[in-house]
């Protein structure tokens, strides 16, 4: 019983992180139409940022969010403006932009990863912030994990409200649904895409800071997070926020269960098994529409 609860709680925390970073990827892929392979590098860069602020300047990660999230927003906006806008402009269709952006951001991945290797080295990193046990329903969970989950909920919830309750947020969703009709409603797609891409960057920055509070990471960890975010997005249905939440939590709980009950080395295998299962059962995602 305690073990089940333990797995559920730890899985919920991990799954909450996956859901959060998947939301950011949905913004970048669903609205700006960029398949950003360097997405996880921004997560790791944010984690290093949090590590540096905490160990070097004694700024706790929660305060660190206030610095790192805007920085990640700005960095992603610049990436979109400088590197990706030329690709958007020359792309004749959606397929061409997809191929170009995958190749382009694949290069960006190595640049950022290389820079982080040079600055921080290749070793696994972690720091200890609020790693005191908290007793919940007969089991224990580190305080930093609970805090991370709470902040993931706040960031994800705020994004949800912005996207569904404000005029500009509705306009962003409209671009994902029908870009031509969005233009015809007077929405400046180029400007909005840059903003959505940057907002996705802000989300992954927040995810990186929160994850760094309880997971070890290295300069090479980015790819894994990109893959997991991608899997959650596809499992949940592209552009579907509720789908990303459910798929993220499912993945987190499944990974935790396998790591505790069988072997931690199997988590990646479980990720892909779940992914494959979801795709075989519902190719357009758990909450996706059937393809026409």
């Amino acid at each position: 019983m305690t073990l089940t609860l333990d797995i559920l709680l730890s899985g919920l925390v991990l799954g909450g992180m996956y859901a959060l970073i998947a939301l950011g990827l949905t913004l970048q892929y669903g609205i700006a139409r960029i398949m950003n392979l360097s997405y996880g590098e921004f997560l790791v860069a944010a984690a290093f940022g949090a590590l540096f602020l905490f160990t070097g300047m004694a700024i706790n990660p929660i305060l660190g969010l206030l610095l790192i999230v805007p920085a990640s927003f700005a960095a992603n906006w610049l990436l979109y403006r400088i590197v990706l806008t030329p690709l958007v402009k020359r792309a004749k269709n959606q397929g061409m932009l997809e191929v170009d952006s995958i190749l382009g951001t694949f290069g960006v991945l190595f640049v950022i990863q290389g820079l982080m290797q040079v600055v921080f080295g290749g070793a696994l990193q972690s720091y200890s912030y609020l790693s005191v046990p908290v007793h919940i329903l007969g089991t224990t969970l580190a305080a930093n994990r609970i805090l991370a989950l709470v902040f993931a909920l706040i960031v994800g919830g705020a994004l949800y409200v912005l996207l569904t309750r404000t005029r500009y947020g509705t306009a962003l969703r409209a671009i994902a649904v029908n870009p031509v009709a969005a233009q015809l409603s007077g929405i400046d797609i180029a400007a909005a895409s840059g903003l959505a891409f940057a907002a996705g960057g802000a989300i992954v920055g927040a995810g990186g800071v929160l994850i760094s509070m309880f997971l070890t990471f290295s300069a090479a960890s980015g790819v894994i997070f990109t893959m997991k975010a991608l899997i959650v997005v596809i499992m949940g249905g592209v552009g579907n926020m509720m789908g990303a939440l459910v798929a993220g939590l499912l993945l987190g709980i499944a990974e935790t269960a396998v790591a505790r009950l069988v072997d931690p080395g199997l988590t990646i295998a479980v990720t892909y098994a779940l992914f494959l299962g979801a795709l075989l059962w519902r190719p357009t995602g758990l909450f996706g529409r059937p393809a026409r």
Binding site: T170, V177, V180, A181, Q183, L184, G186, I187, D188
Partner: protein, 236 residues
Amino acid sequence: MIEISAISAFYGKHCALDGVSLNVGRGELVVILGANGAGKTTLLKAIGGLVPVAPGGRIAMAGRDLTGVPAHDIVAAGVALVPEGRGIFGEMTVRENLLLGAFPARARAAETRNLDLVLSLFPRLNERLRQTVRTMSGGEQQMVAIGRALMTAPDILLLDEPSLGLSPIMCKELFQSLARIRDAGLGIMLVEQNAKQSLKIADRGYLIESGRIVGAGTGVALSADPAVQRAYLGAG
């Protein structure tokens, strides 16, 4: 109101539109008749900023040059396009679709008034504000599409085959609504295959063939023209 002079458009080397000139005034309903592939859709897309206009042509709205202006700024200048295939947000609700129409700055002040106008024009939408548009019938989706365009507070409304796929009854209702919109003072440019019904409500019309204007006249004159009757009205 809107003046189009000598615009051409190309898809690669194929010339889809060849020096077309026409105009639509305030409170005027103008129908563009032509066969499939004559360039009707390209004409509307070029005016709406979705297809680039070749050098030499000019589009002006109340004297302001709109040639080469991006689509979202053309909406802001008061020209709204309802494209073929409707241009709506299928995954969103009727209310969201209509309020998205009020996104341009020019439309925000009059948002409530325009929403009332749209709902009085299409009362059926009033009961369905919370319904997802994708689940609605073709006629209802067309109402949403026209409603969304009206919410942008346009002076000129461009419609690409709005009657496509509608039942005869829906079609009749639609054309009555268009006449009412015109009577409210908007200029309407209507591209149609349904020549008979559209000429009935049209003030003027143009005939387009292979990307060129080959005839023009009042709605009444065109209806009586034997050539038009042969080509578009299915008479002897």
